[in-house]
Symmetry: C2
Subunit: 282 residues, 2 copies
């Protein structure tokens, strides 16, 4: 299992405040210490930093906490290994190029007996269920649209169709971005908020650090933050509903939809069907 | 234009010594200050650090100089922009996944009027001739082998056939690695050496730093270094011949072959045919 952090912004913004709190969970306020990764988009390109050291100890995480890289779309991940070894190739986020854009994906959850047939167009480098799901999603994009880049709305429609099918195999919370927007989906746990004018004061939960955003922002700024567990005490985080998909662009939700995960419905009706997994214990 | 640095090793080795000298050329001993990048393989996965700041000023380059990441295959690049803007998406090395491995490519040179037809399987994210050539090479791999991973020897054969054709369009010095081995090719300038037992003393050209490799190595170590311009004073660097391709594995050349670049032959016979380009001046 692991924790996710996503950020989608109207103007290029640095994530140092949120990442400082989030990375504490890699060994200090929580035990997600089996590697970390963070990807920053700058237009179509992206910088991806991964390390199989924890985000507390890694010199690369230290750089990220101190080097304010400004980006409109960021996805970060801290890992507690449940499937796949602690190696670099199993560190999220994962990256692939499609339609002349980099695509970045990070997953929270475990998928069991998920063995889809892949075309070969996208092949996992490591051996996680997560990278396999990412390759499968991209395969479905190509199957649907070929090599002609579709609109965000069209991509949302495919994700809305495929994601609940993958979620039949287990917990499937994810963040996905191509640098234009950030797609997010939750079957168990994910939270979000939007910081916008008039900006407020915020205080991290995981670290004794606070910030007055009104001092470091302009009225044009707007930032959506997506995270497994809320990062701050005094802001209103909204929980995703089971099966909810939200597309963020320009720092706000631009499309929201529910999906039906049949397994979750069956389990709600008869809790004895629920498979208790290691993943559920975290 | 730009400069290249490649390293292929028998055992995981850090590149800090060579990178310290190499990165001086990004503004101090030379003017290759329009971005830098470096990729480190760890088995099939790789870490790619890129920045559109110079390798002298970038905090990411500072991290690389001080964090000894051990790797068997490394490719680094410092850029002096001649084609494409100074943006992150134009920073080498470039990365793509094929056959469940990451592939890393960096190019030194300029290609003119090089407009190959691509399948769509690999599409440039930026607008450099270099990334286009990389996508074209990978397209040719898939055209030849489909989605079944070939041997290094088979890949060498395709590169040997295609590279001189691309070199018809200009200068084509490159390093390419999939984490198993490092392919290199030169039409104008590239040098290499192998450091192995008994290890010697080496002194950087670009910085007043020297090292006695015998103190920091074991007899099992062996390291091939590939670079545009020699990095050290007191080692014997071998220059690539025009059109030479060398495949390095386990820290030594395992396959070498010459290619015939028809344009270079014509220019040798009649120097007035040679197009003087900005690239040639660096």
């Amino acid at each position: 299992m692991c924790q996710l952090l996503g950020m989608n912004c109207a103007t290029p913004t640095d994530i140092t405040f949120s990442f400082r709190g989030f990375s504490q969970r890699a060994g200090i306020t929580s035990d997600h210490s089996d590697g970390f990764g963070i990807a920053f988009f700058e237009d179509k390109a992206c910088r991806l930093f991964v390390d199989n050291q924890s985000a507390v100890e890694s010199p690369i995480a230290e750089l990220v906490r101190n080097y304010p890289i400004k980006s409109r779309n960021v996805i970060a991940h801290i890992r507690k290994a449940t499937q796949g070894k602690i190696t670099l190739e199993n560190s999220h986020p994962f990256v692939r190029e499609l339609w002349g854009r980099q695509w970045i994906f990070a997953h929270n959850g475990d998928l069991y007996d998920f063995q889809p047939r892949l075309s070969g167009r996208f092949t996992p480098v490591g051996n996680t269920d997560s990278e396999l799901a990412f390759c499968y999603l991209l395969d479905k994009f190509v199957e649907k649209f070929g090599y002609h880049e579709p609109s965000l709305k069209e991509i949302f429609a495919v994700l809305h169709e495929i994601s609940p099918k993958i979620a039949e195999y287990g917990t499937f919370n994810f963040c996905l971005s191509n640098g234009q927007a950030l797609f997010s989906y939750a079957t168990t746990k994910l939270h979000w908020l939007v910081r916008e004018y008039p900006f407020q004061h915020a205080k991290l939960i995981d670290l004794d650090v606070d910030i007055d955003f009104s001092e470091v922002t302009t009225p044009e700024d707007r930032v959506a933050v997506i995270t497994t567990e809320p990062l701050t005490h005094n802001e209103t985080w909204q929980a995703y509903r089971q099966g909810e998909m939200i597309l963020f662009q320009h720092g706000q939700p631009i499309q929201r939809a529910m999906t039906v995960v049949a397994r979750l419905q069956r389990e709600a009706q008869d809790p004895s069907l629920k498979r208790i997994t290691k993943a559920d214990q975290y």
